[in-house]
Amino acid sequence: MQSYVPFVMFTAIGFAFIFVTLLMARFVRPSAPNPNKQETYECGPVPVGDAWNQFNIHYYLFALLFVVFDVEAAFLYPWAMAFRMFGLYAVVEMIIFVALLGVGLVYAWRREALEWE
């Protein structure tokens, strides 16, 4: 449990830093409210429509590939801690695992899921 103390302290200091900085800025800055300042700024032109746009399906495909290989990484780590005790057997096992997911990657490549149109 002790090993999490630096992490908790770091998180607390990180949050405190944000709030202290914003609070200090609040005391120092001049205040001149103006409705024009509240408008959405978008490179100068007046923003048209909603922020709800249909996004490109490719974002989903990339996230999908990321999810699958993220899970693979989660399996690789305990395997890497233990594979020395099993020798070749463990290596072959992991090669099969990675190769199966490699087939998926090749399929994604062939279906042009990795291309950005």
Binding site: F75, Y77, Y89, E93, I96, G104
Partner: protein, 187 residues
């Protein structure tokens, strides 16, 4: 030692988890619901830390926060204007569902209070030994589920690509043949 004092980290983490889970269920704006999953998953990661399952703290953050949550937010962006927050977000079955859930929770509570709990005398191993044991079990005893998990992930990957790219005919596989290359377009 005062028990509230020593249980304080547990209480904080469970309050974080349950509080944000309730917001996920209650909030009307689905994008907000997606973002409220983040403190919930992080609270569960904190509970894993309290349970000394350090490997799973990392995996929870990596898979749930890093991957699954991102995928859900992308799916929210893809289904544009999915639900107006002003429309009803729930179906009309609230009463039977509420009764069912209360009965379910009461059943769980009855089982938990009815059981004679003995204090665990299991030794908690250091993190590296725990992870190594996990790896040994994965390679040895659980070798078949391990490979099946790989097949499952492959199926999910292929299936999701087929579903997501279904609007077009699949492009013919570009197989460059040696004969077609040199004299296809004489200039």
């Amino acid at each position: 030692m005062n028990s509230i004092d020593s249980h304080l980290p547990f209480l904080i983490m469970s309050a974080l988890t349950l509080g944000s889970a309730l917001v996920v269920v209650r909030v009307r704006n689905i994008v907000h619901a997606g973002f409220w999953l983040l403190p919930c998953f992080l609270g569960v990661a904190g509970l894993y830390a309290l349970l000394q399952a350090h490997f799973f703290v990392v995996v929870q953050v990596l898979i749930y926060v890093g991957a699954i949550l991102v995928l859900m937010l992308f799916a929210l962006m893809l289904t544009q204007d999915v639900m107006n927050p002003n429309k009803p977000q729930t179906n009309r079955m609230s009463l039977p569902i509420g009764v069912f859930c209360i009965v379910f929770a009461a059943g769980v509570a009855a089982i938990l209070t009815g059981h004679q709990w003995v204090n665990s005398n299991a030794v908690i191993l250091p993190a590296n030994v725990q992870t190594r044991q996990l790896g040994q079990a994965l390679i040895g005893e659980y070798a078949l589920p391990f490979e099946i998990a790989s097949v499952l992930l492959l199926a999910a990957l292929v299936g999701a690509i087929v579903l997501a790219k279904s609007e077009k005919e699949p492009a013919p596989l570009p197989l460059p043949t040696l004969a077609a290359l040199p004299d296809s377009k004489p200039e």
